[in-house]
Amino acid sequence: MRKYILIILSASLLTGCWDQNLLKDVQLIYTVGYDVLEDGSEETTSVAPPVDEMIENVNVLSTNNSTVRDSRYHLDTIVAEHIDFSKLQVVVLGNELSKEEIYPYIDVIYRDPRHHLNARLAMTDTSAKELLNQPIDSQKNKSEYYAGLLESSEIINVIPKMTLQHACTILLDPGIDLFIPLIVYRDELKRAEAVGTSLFSKDKYTGVYLDHDQSTIFNVLRNKTDRVVRLTRKYSEDREPEVSNYMTLEFKKTKTSLELSQNPFSLSVNIELKGAVAEYGPDHLIGTKKLNSLEAWWENKLKEDTEVLFTVLKENQSDILGIGRMTAALMPEEWNEKEWHEKFANLPVKVDVDMTITSTGIID
């Protein structure tokens, strides 16, 4: 008797088909773009990889409804499979949307357990729909193209990496402003390009972005450099050919310390770099004296550039380095959530650069 009861009981353990999610029934979305239209409604543009390996056709679908969720449900009504965002790689925000508060548009991503929070966040200078509908002259299919584009740009430090999870923390923290990579479409190349870092003040796009050089310095400042930092500057004016006037340095090790001080409330920035000459046409760099003057020249140059960077940040009231967060933690008496942006705009910054050139490559 007991045996039969056990058998019947264990039969109830064999229930497992409610939550099956077969790959053949779903249409995975790798890249998605959000826009806001003039009437305030939301438009979702989804880029899905081809379901069949043999077909190269990538689906680009746009739906327009009042909320992001609605637009997603709408997607289901126009594709043969079930739309699935669990493998999302990139979220692209349109320019108009970025000028508004962006959190309400990406809230759905945090609320849904199926979502993957390691997807990257980026924005574009036009509407996301326009960008995602552009032809891409790439061997990778378009749905995966944008993730690869961002990743390869992160490796050379010309843009910062911004994941959805990180963006959420920043958006909720009053002590730091959001910064995300900016993607611009290049007609002549038929490709998109990650041109730099767009600056936000609170959660609104300021309309200003940092170019590659500035983004690199920004990455150095926040100690988030991946692999090699590469900087090129014009070292001399009169050499021929023009390329000889430029020098490229590579830094394997960079370290920045930010320090706040009181009376008056100010910030001092100390950058330490250790690097090697990667490219310089005229050669003959060896000799302590020469290296010393070279270092001094670079230190001065970088100091200027960093100061310019801080001026840009302060003018746009964009505290992307999280100085506010530091202030709140280390000097709570100076911290005022409401007035922080004005205070940041008037914050005196002192920059110090210390550079050591340890190698000139395998030639002198």
Binding site: R114, N118, Q165, L172, A329, L330
Partner: protein, 362 residues
């Protein structure tokens, strides 16, 4: 009897497992809602208070001699009041179990099996738990010991937070004020609940009772340390306002991770965590069984029936709780009252037994 006794280390893991499974995943948010960015201080204070409570338990257990705590209630207070207090304790146990199963079901529904009916998930938890809990204490303690290898997994996965820690989120220390920190101590103690397992199962200890109890205390202390580690890890990952809206912050951290091979480590981790939740269920079901035996003066072989009845009650109870909001409400209000109960009743018992000089049976 050999089968009905446990060693000190088994006792330690029994306590540890019961505490861990209760709220390790959700506890940081609950505390942060009250104590803000000083949640970790509240946790340390809460842990210390729990250690004091356990010391009080130990004193009481020494006075219990070989009687169980449940029997001792009747010895100290007489039949009527003693049984009434026992009934309150049993209600507490059942209530805790309903809460555990309901929040477990909610977690699984939210994160993995969205379309599976809730009662199926509850059944799948209760049936194996029931099957284990009708067995002897030594088997249950061994089970708790066996699955403790899962705890290092949790600790190691959370270690990834320290790749990019934001220690600024912990500073300035004490900025929320003493008031908030003390308010946070209450959910911290509630998060550590499960320590009453020391009181409920101490009469199974064999050999030197005091040495065994000390090991129980170590188990509980370990849980406090693990919780402090978890809460600090969570706090340096999330900004405090974000932490308040994320119900399972530990899982959320895993969700944001992407390892080379495993994309969604949180889902994989949850499948392991189910086992720990089962252990909580097993331990409480067993205790419910022996306490009801004591209430109705039943023979040991009635244990199975009592446990089965309890599981059915829990099953029915947990189906009625079907929303996360309800669970949070119950957790916020009644949970703390319930924990107060398992502190207050033993305390009264201890005081009363000291006054009347009544001791347990040898």
């Amino acid at each position: 009897m050999q089968k009905n006794s446990i060693t000190g280390w088994q006792f330690c893991f029994l306590t540890l497992q019961t505490q861990m499974g209760m709220s390790a995943l959700s506890m940081p948010s609950l505390i942060a809602n009250k104590a803000g960015q000083d949640a970790w201080i509240s946790m340390i204070l809460g842990g210390l208070i729990v250690q004091v409570i356990i010391l009080m338990y130990m004193w009481l257990i020494v006075r219990c001699k070989n009687s169980s705590y449940f029997d001792f209630l009747a010895i100290v207070f007489g039949k009527v009041i003693g049984k009434f207090l026992l009934l309150l304790t049993i209600l507490y146990i059942i209530f805790i179990m309903i809460l555990v199963t309901a929040s477990y079901q909610q977690l699984i529904t939210d994160w993995i099996n969205i379309y599976t009916p809730g009662w199926i998930i509850v059944l799948l938890l209760l049936i194996p738990s029931l099957y284990l809990s009708i067995d002897s204490i030594s088997l249950i303690a061994r089970f708790s010991m066996l699955i403790s290898f899962l705890i290092p997994v949790l600790l190691i996965v959370v270690l990834f937070v320290y790749a990019e820690p934001q220690f600024f989120y912990l500073l300035p220390i004490g900025s929320e004020g003493l008031d908030s920190i003390i308010k946070g101590v209450i959910p911290a103690i509630a998060a550590l609940s499960g320590f009453e397992m020391i009181l409920f199962t101490s009469h199974f200890l064999k050999g030197n009772k005091l040495a065994g109890l000390k090991k129980g205390m170590i188990g509980s202390g370990l849980v406090t340390l693990i919780y402090i580690y978890l809460i600090i890890s969570v706090q340096i990952f999330f900004y405090i306002d974000e932490l308040k809206i994320v119900p399972y912050p530990v899982l959320y951290i895993m969700k944001a991770l992407s390892l080379m091979i495993i994309d969604r480590i949180d889902i994989l981790f949850l499948t392991f965590w189910i086992i720990i939740s089962t252990a909580v269920c097993v331990n409480y079901l067993f205790v419910a069984g022996i306490s009801m035996q004591s209430l109705f003066n039943l023979q040991a072989h009635r244990h199975m029936i009592m446990v089965t009845i309890t599981s059915i009650m829990i099953f029915i109870g947990s189906i009625f709780i079907d929303s996360k909001i309800e669970i949070t409400e119950i957790q916020n209000q009644l949970f703390e009252v319930g924990v107060g109960l398992v502190v207050l009743i033993p305390f009264l018992t201890l005081i009363f037994s000291l006054i009347t000089k009544r001791l347990g049976n040898n």
